[in-house]
Symmetry: C2
Subunit: 333 residues, 2 copies
């Protein structure tokens, strides 16, 4: 059986391009004891992928040149030498950009394909949703009545952050690119407002929507937007640094020029990595399923077609801001 | 009686210069009920003064053009219509850059001129020392065995920060400018090491002195030094933003390009303002007096002569890094 896959061909400087990737195929090998063979159905397209392509110390080891590109995903177990995962069950875990993944099962969890669409296990109930959950609750610490601002508000993480902040009784203002996304954020996700950073004067728009200042900022984008928000934070504000999609392809990264606003406002800027919370995943997922059932949490995702060959192009949609909700790539049916 | 004083003449762009100041004199007026007349003996020269000269929202209102420049200081009460402060007692408070200050006494505290040299009440036991105390203990939260790095290590705040971190059982590495200062920091203040940022490769020097990475960084300087430290922090590091003396005169401020190290390391960067802790000043001062008596805390200060006329020049010594320990200006005997 042939496995089509995408390898990291060359570490990019700036934006990934055609040279970054190499399409490849190999015969699927026999399983060793404890392993399972997963037919990959969907992979999760994440901004973090850009970081994994870089050499150097980070929160996770880089993908090596020549290796299959790392990707989280969901699939069906089609062969198994592991008692915990029987043929026919669905699993979520690190599968890579390929059609068939052999896993030692150490990071796999079973998912219920009948309860919810499979992409939800990569989105609201996957790494994106968990990042949102722990980031906003444990680090953002939103209090009832506070003003919470979220960038990348239409994205996989931002959309969940804002909905959780609403559940906690906050005023929630999103930042997104374009009228359609802003409309989506307010009408479908229930944010109180959403400002379009592409429309011109973000500073003024934010001031209008946040007349009492900003208590919590959940940042997925970095760059000028972070600086603008820093100019409007309240005393003791909490800024959650979850990502910086505007900077991942930058060859000369831009630091927040307004960081001394932290001093003036005795405010805090703190980075988060979802994996630190793995022991608390079950309780977070249980809570989010409850919210989904209660209609308080929208399971938004955007599904792209094209299999592994479409991966390089679909990844760029993230950096161009062309997705609304969790972006997933369908690998096969 | 004539009062010589220095007024803010013009808000500077970049470094303060001769145009920024105006020397002036006025006849001392009669006291109203509740007021005291202070013969100013010393004023405290603080980096924060540069911020007070700017218009715009900050943690304290700006000095208005035409007003006496704000300064903390110590002096002797020479006339009093306030029962709490008798003629002859010594006080510390906001006195301004002038020879005689009339105060409603609301911010004055009595100090004991016999117990310690008067400048100590502006340094180790004044705003600088209190900033160090609350910043390192409450925000830096150093744990025994951790590595603490302090910039501006020979300065008024940094010198106290490092000594407190030593008392708490940490490995303490200072950053200062020049061999003499570094020698002072190690030999007089008892830091484990001090690296000279002017000597060339700060990155390498820090790595040599902090082989286990940096757990707490107390930043007084900002700029490239902050970026270099960000590249060497440990997981869950705490960065205390106390000041950014390299940036106060900058017309185009420099943000920390490496701020995404906060994300990778789940680290925190937090601003502090000493005034938030005013209710806890007495216990902090009591603790520091105990440490001084026990020989654990060095009361370092640098006294400049020249009275109010010397103020513009002495202030620039701070920005040029020409002081070791708390910088004070003697106003009169």
């Amino acid at each position: 059986m042939l496995n089509h896959r995408i390898l990291l061909n060359q570490r990019p400087v700036g934006e990934p391009n055609a040279e970054s990737w190499k399409a490849d195929q190999e015969e699927v090998r026999e399983l060793a004891d404890g392993e399972v063979l997963i037919k990959v159905l969907y992979i999760s397209i994440d901004p973090a992928m850009r970081g994994w392509m870089n050499a150097g110390k980070s929160y996770i080891k880089p993908v090596e040149v020549g290796d299959v590109m790392r990707a989280l995903g969901v699939g069906e177990v089609v062969a198994s030498k592991n008692d915990r995962f029987e043929v026919g069950c669905h699993v979520s875990g690190s599968v890579g950009v390929q059609e068939f993944a052999i896993s030692d099962a150490s990071d796999l969890v079973k998912v219920d394909a009948k309860a919810l669409p499979l992409p939800v296990y990569m989105g609201t109930l996957g790494m994106s949703g968990l990042t949102a959950y722990f980031g906003i609750l444990d680090t953002g610490m939103p209090q009832e009545g506070e003003t919470v601002v979220v960038s990348g508000a239409a994205g996989a993480v931002g959309s969940v952050v804002g909905q959780i902040a609403k559940i906690k009784g906050c005023k929630v203002v999103g930042i997104a690119g374009g009228e359609d996304k802003c409309k989506y954020v307010v009408e479908e996700l229930g944010f109180d407002a959403c400002v379009d950073y592409k429309s011109g004067n973000l500073r003024k728009l934010l001031r209008t929507e946040c007349p009492e200042g900003i208590d919590v900022y959940f940042d997925n984008v970095g760059g000028d937007i972070l600086d603008t928000v820093l100019g409007q934070i309240n005393k003791k504000a909490r800024i959650v640094i979850c990502g910086a999609i505007s900077q991942y392809n930058a060859t000369e990264p831009q630091g927040p020029k307004n960081y001394l606003s932290l001093l003036v406002n005795r405010a805090r800027m703190e980075g988060i990595v979802v994996f630190d919370n793995y022991k608390k995943y079950p309780e977070a997922i249980a809570q989010m399923i409850e919210w989904i059932k209660a209609g308080k949490l929208n399971i938004n995702f955007q599904e792209e077609e094209g299999g592994v060959a479409a991966f390089p192009e679909v990844l760029m949609k993230l950096f161009k801001g062309e997705n609304t909700g969790k972006l997933v790539l369908k690998i096969q049916a």
